[in-house]
Amino acid sequence: MWNWEKTPLTWPHFLVMLLGTVIILLLALGVVTYTIYWQRRIIAWMQGRIGPNRTGPFGLLQTVADVLKLLIKEDIVPEKADRVLFLIAPIIAFVPSFVVLSIIPFTMTHVFTAGLGIGVLLYIGFSAITIHGVMLGGWASNNKYALLGGMRSAAQMLSYEIPLGLSIVGIVLMSGTLDLNQIVLKQQQMGWWFAGPQFLGFIVFLIAGTAELNRTPFDLPEAESELVGGYHTEYTGFRFAFFMLTEYVYLFAMGALVATLFLGGWSGPFLPGWLWFTIKVFLYINFQFWLQASMPRIRADRLMTFSWKVLLPLALINLVLTAVLKVFV
């Protein structure tokens, strides 16, 4: 019943699908809520602090309280801002972040999500739309810090999209498919994860992915100490929450993508598929937090150089090597 790609569409079937969407949405929200909580706890631990521990048992309700606070805040639109763009920018940024979740194979049978033949491409395409939201938000705010932050984001996300995409192409070449589930199956069939044979691609993907997520050491768009809040300087209340939500949903989605492409997705011995998947995503997210606690911020002008002069050649080398090996071995 869950495997609806292969069965004809009927009304009950449609309802189940709708229900599945809602469940995925709520699941993602829950994951984001507790990712933020976990981030605060684990970084606090790394920094010799305690972290939130007052709201609810072990501070478990802290993020919930924070989100509620943001929701009941006044929705301020700056007088000089471009009203329409300012209002829709968070939505443009936010919607694609949930769309990309629809192709992630959480388990073998694609429970709740679509088994698209072009899964990888869809992810890259939709995540690029978010950049528009971020840039428009920064521009429409009519604030100088937001403008600088928005421009930086656009430049950064665009230039890191390319090595990111190219590093995936290596995997596509090896597995011969864009379907994420097929990629996982291929890894299972090969007996080892793509992180092994595609080692170079894996490194490029990890770095470019971190930049794509605007996370330390590539967190320039919201470089607090330089640009105050970056592109969301002027945003308050639930619109600000949207931007934050986008960020963490992408963190989750990127973790899911890394797990699927390079770490064998849901495959693994003994434990059920969804648990393996969760473990891998969890490890990735923790890796990001670890980076956040230990790295300073890279300089703005070095950022572009690094992407075009280091990551892109590496990704290309990886691509050529993969192609050569594919043909001759």
């Binding site: 970084i43 100490s225 330089e226 230990s294 790295m295 911020r297 300089r299 703005a300």
Partner: protein, 374 residues
């Protein structure tokens, strides 16, 4: 670029950006008006005075002992040094004899305070550059220092500990032992910071060859302290014009080589090591008992005349200049505030730099707004 835009209606202009007075990395209420061409700084103008409290003017209506708590609030990260600079000036004017124990206690608290101040300078500098953890790490050691100073003076930040002729309180029982216990720990931690920060490639990349000036320029701007020593010029008042009992201690004056932001950061680490050495020696030499306050007249009247004494504050030469007409209050008090003087080189350093370097350069100069504004 301009040739491309000639035939269009697109306007190209410079942008004026107000950094501060409420900005996360100006270390207080400091405002910097920056003229930007894209992300390149064309011109920068510091605007100060948001924290001005008129300490110098207020001092004219206060007796010398009453001025001491006001000096606490100048460079609030190294209040002991401020206290001492004032007391020293008055003592030199009165030609007072300071008891041995008091001198040792003074050196111990001053150097502890210097370590605390340098720790925070390093931590907040890293925070400016986007690394959050070191900022929180430094508070662990600083907390111990603050605790020690709290035990001896009764305050955590604004100590009001020194008096003309000595110190207010003797060390409580066991205090010196606690200082002795703290020092090895501090040494370990300095090594840890050296390992954690100095080798970090991103950090080095952001600070090496950034904000360079040479000795000549530094001297012409009147820079002092780490900002001067980073250019390789060996100038430390503790060594060059020894005051108190600093001539008895064995310590080195670390200097930089290139005069860039990295050197200025690294000198903080090296100076902390030296301060630990000084405290170690002072704790070993301190007489186990004795007076803590010298023979000071009931009413402190500085003989008519002009007096200036500079000491090596944690940010540079901290000097108090007293003009006295023989009364119990100064006729005029002028404070040479190292942060204020060091700040003057900022516009020149910023010209042609990017926004990201602004933070790196401003942070390395290491100003405290309480001191800049006075």
């Amino acid at each position: 670029m301009s040739s491309l835009l000639e035939n269009t209606n697109i306007r190209e202009e410079e942008m004026i950006l107000n950094v501060g007075p409420q900005h996360p990395s100006t270390h207080g209420v400091f405002r910097l008006v920056v003229k930007l061409d894209a992300e390149t700084i064309v011109e920068a103008e510091p605007v100060i005075g948001y924290l001005h409290r008129g300490t110098e003017k207020l001092a004219e209506d206060l007796q010398y002992t009453q001025i001491i708590p006001y000096t606490d609030r100048l460079d609030y990260l190294s209040a002991m040094l401020n206290n001492y600079a004032l007391c020293r000036t008055v003592e030199e004017a009165l030609d007072l004899e300071i008891p041995e124990r008091a001198e040792h206690l003074r050196v111990i608290v001053m150097e502890l305070n210097r370590i605390g101040s340098h720790l925070l300078a390093v931590g907040s500098y890293l925070l400016d550059l986007g690394a959050m953890s070191p900022f929180l790490y430094v508070f662990q050691e600083r907390e111990q220092i603050v605790q020690l100073l709290n035990e001896i003076s009764g305050a955590r930040l604004t100590y009001n500990y020194m008096r003309v002729g000595g110190v207010k309180w003797d060390a409580p029982p066991g205090w010196l032992d606690r200082v002795r216990e703290f020092l090895p720990f501090m040494k370990e931690r300095i090594k840890m910071y050296d390992k954690l920060i100095t080798g970090n490639e991103i950090f080095v990349d952001r600070t090496r060859k950034i904000g360079i000036y040479d000795t000549e320029k530094a001297l012409s701007y009147g820079l002092s302290g780490i900002n001067l020593r980073s250019t390789g010029f060996k100038w430390d008042l503790r060594r060059n014009k020894p005051y108190s009992i600093y001539d008895r201690f064995d310590f080195e004056i670390p200097v930089g080589q290139t005069g860039d932001c990295f050197d200025r950061y690294y000198l903080h680490i090296l100076e902390m090591e030296q301060s630990v050495r000084i405290v170690e020696q002072a704790v070993a030499q301190i007489p186990s008992s004795g007076a803590i306050l010298g023979k000071v007249p009931k009413m402190i009247r500085v003989p008519a005349g002009e007096y200036y004494t500079g000491i090596e504050g944690s940010r540079g030469e901290l000097g108090f200049y007293i003009v006295s007409d023989g009364k119990d209050k100064p006729y005029r008090l002028k404070i040479r505030k190292p942060s204020f003087v060091n700040l003057q080189i900022l516009p020149e350093l910023l010209r042609g730099q990017s926004m990201a370097n602004l933070i790196a350069i401003l942070g390395a100069i290491d100003i405290v707004l309480g001191e800049v504004d006075g």
